[in-house]
Amino acid sequence: MNVAEKKARVIEPDSLIGKRIPKMDAPEKASGRTRYIHDINLSGQLYGKILRSARIHALIKSIDVSAARALPGVHVVITAADIPDQRPIGVAKDHFPLKVGRVRSQRDEIAAVAAESEEIAEAALKLIKVEYEDLPVISNPEDAIKPGAALIHPEPHGADGSHLHLKQGMSIAHKGKPDNIAMRFDYVHGDVVQGEAESDVVVEDTFKLHYVTHCCMGVSGMIAEFDASGNVLMYSNTQVPFLHKREFAEYLNIDPARIRIIQPPIGGGFGSKLDIYPFEVICLYLARAAKRPVKMLFTREEEFLASPTRQPVLLTLRSGCKKDGTLTFRQVHTLHDNGAYTSWGATTPFVMMQTFSSLYRVPHCDYHTAAVYTNNPYAGSFRGYGNLQATFAIEQHMDMLAEKIGMDPLEFRLKNAQDAGEVTGQGMSFKSCGFKDCITTAAKRSDYARKARENAANRDKPGNIKRGIGMASMLHVGGGAKIYPSDGCGTILKMDDFANVTLITGASEIGQGSETVLSQLVCEELGLPISAVTVVNNDTAITPWDVGVHASRTTFIAGNSAIGAAKKAKSKILAVAAKKYGTAEDELDLRGGFVIQAASGEVVVELSKLLRNLHFQDKAELVMTTFYYEPPSVHQDKGFKGDVSAAYAWGSQVVEVEVDTDTGIVRMTKVTGAHDVGRVLNRLGIEGQIEGGVVMGQGYALTEDLLIQNGVMKNPNFRDYKLVTAPEIPEMDIAFIESMDGEGPQGAKGVGEAPSICIAAATANAIANATGVRMFELPFTPEKVYRALHGQTPKLYWKPWKAE
């Protein structure tokens, strides 16, 4: 190449940050080629099915599997008796994958079959005979905590009725529990008694939050295979492959090094894949026994029956403020229906108490939760993690307090909203904080103040359609959450001879578009087009450690990790180039696939050429780097205080509704949102996350209701469990507040969970604005709203229960 010509070439600065970048995997998905677990079949594979309980609460008197075993095509039938070394699973280790002696809920696993086909496996299940002895069903957490209530996990007795003296340190699954209290959380800062004394007005209400479930469009499933040496290969959609690898090893009593998890593309996650569920362990048992790969897929009905739910909550909130609009205190008691076993739902208070203690300035806060065992479905983690429930109560009270002191609700909120630099009573430190910006932006773009005034004035005019507008705000972790010993993520980055990058990250992709964002961040450092990156993120044998996809952490943590690896690669490249071309490293940069002069943009050398030179010289070298990012957050202390996240995300949403007073039908017409996302990395991706979250919030507020009566799920299907459909979605106007977080990757914060959180609360405020009627119980289905409008809803009150 002509030297003079090359010198003349200048590469203009360009950035991918903030652009609308289509998801890298979208073309494959849009052509139906992507292979989800459902689409993968291994040769020699058998099909696994689970027999679930026919009773809600009962002793298992006997199980007869002989007819099932005799059915042609059946390879393995297992019950608890066949797996004597079962280990307890779950967050509180309070159940076995295959239930032993007793069933406690509708979903309980009694036996499992592996057979040549799904049909045969199903036929075999029908041949299994189980004898039960019914026990009283506790389907209401208020009953579960009454003195003398029947126990869900009683201590086992010997055959003669005597107490068994069990070893200390054994799990609940072995030794039972003397009461029905699964978990307790007690948090306090300040002194609520003093807070109340300082208050001019106080409000107290009970709120009731219902069951909803994830409804991932791809049903749960997995494939397990043992090789000839006993190593395990799992195809699984877990969101926490590395931690689960360890747990699975424990359940199988093998070395974790022998477990490899491959994560095929997932048909939706939303928090549902954060725990290990019985079916996964059972699938492993079946594969181990059959010595063949076993594939297990749920039906949609099973997905409803045997998936975790969002945590249902009964809560009484007492809050107060002064006449001048200063919040004085919040006192909260909640009762969590834990269901029969403990999953992550029980731990939602970690997030709920943050919201109660720190959403707005709260000088005094007193928070108590009891999660109690019942015979209901058990609650897991679900996008928003307790925050929807807490925000629902708080933001209604914000409106009610403002009304009581005769203050404009917007002004009231702004008066109590925090600024950057503040540290809350719980120790959360807001380094970047766009809270007030979010409130004012959302209010302005929606014309909140004018509409709220007019709607209230039009309330008593004739006509059956009443319009309402309501606002709510939220606070959520946006820079990971230090709940495990490490909250980090590893990256391996390698470059090939053509300046293509393979980014090997520990962060799983669950449909949220993390691959694309991580590629963007890497390209930004290395001056490459997005097409130069291949992301590998789905195989524990290859990818470096990561704590898992939760707490809206992937962009922040994995993003910083990827940037770290890219920076190391960049400095290596620049060092080589500087040496070769006789300049200083800091005078060079990477851009458009070239090494350039940083000041002028003039091309020094094509990057791929430089990499080849480096590779094919005497002292051959490759550009390969690794990086591990651990956020600067800290663990909470015993009193739940501490700065658990490296950054916090804020958002305000304004919901507009039309209430038909003839029918109780609430139409959500518009949602205006303002979200402090730190910085927009991929506009297309973040808009999609927000819109999806808004509509999920709409479902929570208006349509979705998993009906559980006496422990029985009444609507395990999409016919009667209603997701929002396309014609029902509101107009959406989403604004981004870029507070440029100092620690965030390119200034970004995590937002995955943020958009669903405020919708129900804002909808409640909108309905009140439209009709003057406050609703304290979700969801706002037509009949519920109609009843409330006609004074047919008795005032809900739950007297805070204080355990000694």
Partner: protein, 288 residues
Amino acid sequence: MTELKHYFAPTSLDQAVECLKDGDVTILAGGTDLTPQSQAGRVKIKHTLMNIRHIPQLTGITLEGREIHIGALATITEIMEHPLVRQHLPVLVEACDHFASDQIRNAGTIGGNICNASPAGDTLIPLLVLDASVELASMPEAKLYRHTMPLSTFFVGPGKTRKSLCELVTGVRIPLPEQGHVARFFKLGTRPALDISTISIGVAGTLRDGVLSNARVAFGAVAPTPTRAAQTEQALEGQRLDAATIEKVAAIARDEVKPIDDVRATAWYRKEMIHNITKRILSHVAQA
């Protein structure tokens, strides 16, 4: 009941009714009810599964004298888009528009909707207020036998009709509405269509000088079958639709229905809705 032993796809009506003779036959039309019902084991397929798709005599929408004839295989989409239906039976178009989803409207047939006999069947309410009759065919001896039955007497319970096991529904006949005919349909739900009715209401009659005659009122999802509401019709017959009458009729409608509680709504709410929506529809009719 015997196991499924035979699959048959007749290409003529004679073949079909001949096959139906022994009564041990499950009829398949669009399959939108039968497929999920049989897969879930709620319905057991009998000795023969007979697919009626290829029978030309069951298709088409035509004007025959003063009646519109809709073949049993006409899909909801075909009905909704057909010029004859759009011109003469807009209330049926309205109901079709609130029926399931596009995919299901493209597959589901009117014959299937009638024979499935769901209390919430959406075409059934307009068909009832339009005085439709069901056309049936069988082969009692060696010859094809056809007769019709008013739709209002056809349903006997959820999923149960007066059709015998040996009969095939070949279509429905709907008299052409006369001058001044008005008809309305309303399906209550939060979604435009893909939703089982909580309640649905059809009202029809002849409106002359503000007076309604030949009043027809039918309710869906408030009884074991879609039903005509005799007392409500009586209260409406020959009345001028002023506010007082409308209120009175709506109250009678509320008292006339005997719905049940289920996962979708309580009986109380259904009764309230029958009242409110009847009132709303009648006000619309009054303004027509």
